[in-house]
């Protein structure tokens, strides 16, 4: 009975996130299958296969052997970045329910209850395993709904569940070694990034195939769903998470609750410069997150910039591919400035998610009770406006970082690109940021508990709608609600001034609504 209650408690902590991810996976996989058909199916893909086998593309998007079925296309599409995102999600979920619970003290209550720490840990692991399994089932379901082979769909779904479980395992071990939760999450992310880079090197370097066997992202590729089928690799995708879980369990039973062997220093010299105003503190709160994002986006930008020249050259050489890109609505990618413009529009989703998360901090602080003392002295309007302004400033800095590193990458790759083109592309991408920031502020004021999950889901879905609408010939009203529908590819196109002004006005209106509600509502934790 007690075990069942523990399990129910643990599941409650992960269920919203698990269900949202599962729904996005079902919809995303099914839509990807539809995109495959809309792109000409096997015949259309055969035309671009040589391009996708370019080492640079394989390094980025994963090894591709065949695209003869929609299932193979999905597994290639999801094998790289989506797998990394899912593993990261698993790791963050694991550090939240373990180290996060220790940070806020709830683990103390669980640890002293009769079932004990080990059973509480086991209950958390069970909930996390169900979340991983759900992601796998959702992937399988999306494929089956797209009329793909059941056996291959199950194999690939199991692989995705394994990758999530691996992220969970990494998170569980990191949570035992490091504190607070943010540090533990960073440790897990570093491990997963290293594993992803090993896959990048393995796929992008001839003669380094052996490296694929050393990384979970390589194991997922080696599974060969919809290709050569090697289910034996599943044993690693299941076994390694199990080993990591056993290690984490042993570590947690041998250490004191709330303590970690590699905890951050608890003392620090005071840095007071940014603490003299609401605006200064808003900047300070967002600075560490912005720096982390800047690092990740800089790496991505320089790599993509470096690959631009060869990708564009390949595309140019193949008329069929040019036609395919046009059908997908991204025909602009056949020139270097156009590719950068397209890249900037893609990166704008990341900038929008960053803006959402940063303005939602107001809701997080309110729920934690941290605003009680602050808002007994400071103006509420100033507080939420400072959050908005500092988020916009941080997003602009991220935009500049992306622009600089894309430009550096493109020039390193030997292609010409003017600073003006990069500036126009980045400026165009930043147009969605005020809208996302205003949206984040409004959602966090109305429903702080679910602001990030709901907001990020809606933003991602609206981006995907804009991506999938042209190739799938969805009716105009479906994509009309997506802000990305109104972003042109700049360059080569010029900025659509009217749309830009409307998007900015909507952003300001959302923020204004958030300010009005925040000023009038009760401040309650």
């Amino acid at each position: 009975m007690r075990r069942a209650r523990l399990a129910a408690m643990a599941w409650r902590q992960v269920r919203t996130s698990a269900v949202v991810v599962a729904l996005v996976l079902v919809g995303g996989v099914r839509a990807t299958v539809a995109t495959y058909a809309a792109s000409g199916g096997a015949r259309g893909m055969a035309a671009v296969l040589p391009l996708l086998r370019n080492p640079a593309v394989e390094a980025l998007d994963g090894r591709v052997t065949t695209l003869a079925t929609a299932g193979a296309y999905v597994q290639w599409k999801m094998g790289a970045w989506m797998a990394l995102a899912l593993a990261a999600w698993g790791a963050l979920l694991a550090t939240r329910v373990t180290r996060g619970a220790e940070d806020v003290g709830t683990w103390d209550l669980i640890a002293v209850a009769p079932p004990g720490r080990r059973r509480a840990f086991d209950a958390s692991v069970t909930a996390l395993a169900i979340a991983a399994l759900l992601a796998g089932v959702a992937t399988t379901l999306g494929l089956v709904l797209g009329a793909q082979s059941l056996a291959d769909s199950v194999l690939y779904g199991a692989g995705i569940a394994g990758v999530v479980a691996l992220g969970v395992g990494a998170g569980l071990v990191a949570a035992q070694l490091s504190a607070p939760r943010r540090s533990a999450s960073q440790v897990a992310m570093v491990a997963l990034t290293a594993a992803f880079l090993a896959r990048v090197v393995a796929d992008g370097t001839r003669g380094a195939d052996w490296l694929r066997a050393l990384t979970p992202f390589g194991w997922l590729e080696n599974l060969g769903a919809f290709q050569h089928r090697e289910p034996a690799w599943l044993s690693l995708l299941v076994g390694v998470p199990l080993v990591l879980t056993v290690v984490a369990r042993a570590l947690q039973s041998r250490r004191d609750v709330g303590i970690a062997p590699f905890a951050r220093a608890d003392t620090s010299r005071a840095h007071l410069a940014t603490l003299h105003s609401v605006g200064g503190f808003a900047v300070r709160q967002r600075r560490p997150v912005a720096l982390t994002w800047a690092g990740g986006l800089a790496v991505l930008a320089v790599v993509m910039g470096y690959l631009t020249h060869s990708l564009v050259a390949f595309a140019h050489a193949d008329a069929a591919y040019v036609a395919l890109l046009s059908r997908w609505g991204i025909g602009a990618m056949v020139s270097v400035p156009g590719f950068v413009g397209e890249l900037a529009v893609s990166v704008s989703l990341a900038l929008a998610l960053f803006a959402l998360a940063m303005t939602a901090l107001v809701g997080t602080d309110r729920l934690a009770g941290r605003l009680d003392v602050a808002l007994s002295a400071a103006s509420r309007a100033r507080w939420i406006l400072a959050a908005f302004a500092s988020t916009l400033a941080a997003a602009v800095v991220l935009g500049v970082v992306i622009g600089v590193f894309v430009w550096v990458g493109v020039r390193m790759g030997g292609a010409p690109l003017s600073v003006g083109s990069v500036a126009a592309a980045v400026g165009n991408a930043l147009v969605v940021v005020p809208l996302a920031a205003g949206f984040g502020a409004l959602v966090s004021v109305l429903a702080a508990r679910v602001a990030v999950v709901v907001g990020a889901t809606l933003l991602t879905l609206s981006y995907l709608v804009a991506v999938f609408a042209p190739p799938l010939h969805w009716p105009g009203w479906v994509s009309a609600a997506s802000p990305w529908r109104y972003l042109r590819i700049v360059p080569p196109a010029g900025v659509d001034v009217t749309s830009t002004l409307v998007l900015l006005a909507v952003g300001v209106a959302l923020e204004t609504a958030a300010v009005v509600i925040f000023v009038r509502r009760d401040v309650v934790a």
Binding site: L275, H276, V523
Partner: protein, 293 residues
């Protein structure tokens, strides 16, 4: 007539149709330390949060030195300490104090440094590494060093050790003597008894009494321990309870002791000891199930 430092008039708050505070009238003058007592869930924190402008009153109004609670002028005059203070875990103690005093807009740096020493706080530690008591010290130091004219303290000593509680008492008495108004919500009745001239008692959202501590005592029963063979005192006017002792009796008297003393004058009494009710006993008499039914 001077404007009260803190005034609530017909103040009420409902949450989803449930009354948390009902038509509360209260005034605290400059230099006055007023205790705010009541059991858990009585409405103390809700009242304080309305006085801070964090909650919007459903009825009535509240002012701080004549300014509407929550207005910029009122916020500039109030410093607040919450019972279980939540702070940003990545900041150090020194950074948190700097932030909170900067948000308030005033700080006496010399007094702040003095308070850090008196409360024995290591300000270089990050908030996440502090115990609950140390987090409470950070909030207290930040609030007191603003020297705000009005201090709203919601169970401010929860988590403090007895030594630090004494330091807190000294600081509140100093604040009162400097002319600062203090409204102190606390479950530590000895603390309230020691610090407060007046006490406001709230029950189920209703303010049931505002009185001087001495006035409350006068309302409460007084206990007498009488040594000697004094016979039966049960029938004496005002005597509510008689407990036999080895060498005498203990009687509880409500109201004037005159009738009891008149009877004792005729009996062989060898010793008489008086004990006034503590605030705790008064509190219990107000909130015991018998008095609430």
């Amino acid at each position: 007539m001077t404007t009260p430092a803190l005034q609530a008039h017909g103040l009420g708050k409902s949450f989803h149709g449930v009354d948390a505070v009902v038509s509360l009238d209260l005034a605290v003058d400059a230099g006055e330390v007023v205790g705010f007592l009541g059991p858990n869930g009585a409405g103390k924190s809700t009242t304080l949060r309305m006085l801070l402008g964090l909650l919007r009153p459903t009825t009535g109004s509240a002012t701080v030195r004549g300014h509407r609670a929550g207005s910029p002028e009122a916020r500039a005059d109030v410093a607040y300490v919450a019972g279980d203070v939540a702070l940003w875990p990545q900041l150090t103690g020194a950074e948190t104090i700097e932030l909170l005093t900067s948000l308030h807009g005033s700080c006496d740096p010399r007094y702040r440094d003095e308070l850090i020493a008196r409360f024995d706080l290591d300000p270089s530690r990050r908030v996440r590494a502090y115990s609950r008591g140390n987090r409470q010290k950070v909030a207290l130091i930040a609030a007191l060093s603003t020297r705000a004219p009005v201090l709203l303290l919601d169970e401010p000593t929860s988590g403090l050790d007895p030594l630090m509680e004494l330091v807190f008492r000294e600081c509140v008495l100093e604040a009162g003597s400097r002319g600062q108004a203090v409204l102190l919500s606390s479950h530590l009745l000895a603390e309230v008894e020691h610090l407060c001239q007046r006490v406001a008692m709230i029950r189920e959202g209703h303010l049931v009494r505002v009185a001087d501590v001495e006035e409350l005592r006068a309302l409460a029963d007084v206990e007498y321990e009488i040594t000697g063979d004094v016979g039966d005192l049960a029938g004496v006017a005002g005597v509510s309870e008689v407990t036999p002792l080895v060498d005498g009796v203990r009687v509880r008297v409500h109201g004037s002791p005159g009738p009891l003393l008149a009877v004792l004058a005729t009996r062989p009494v060898s010793a008489l000891r008086t004990r006034e009710a503590s605030l705790e006993e008064i509190f219990l008499s107000f909130y015991s199930p018998a008095s609430t039914s």
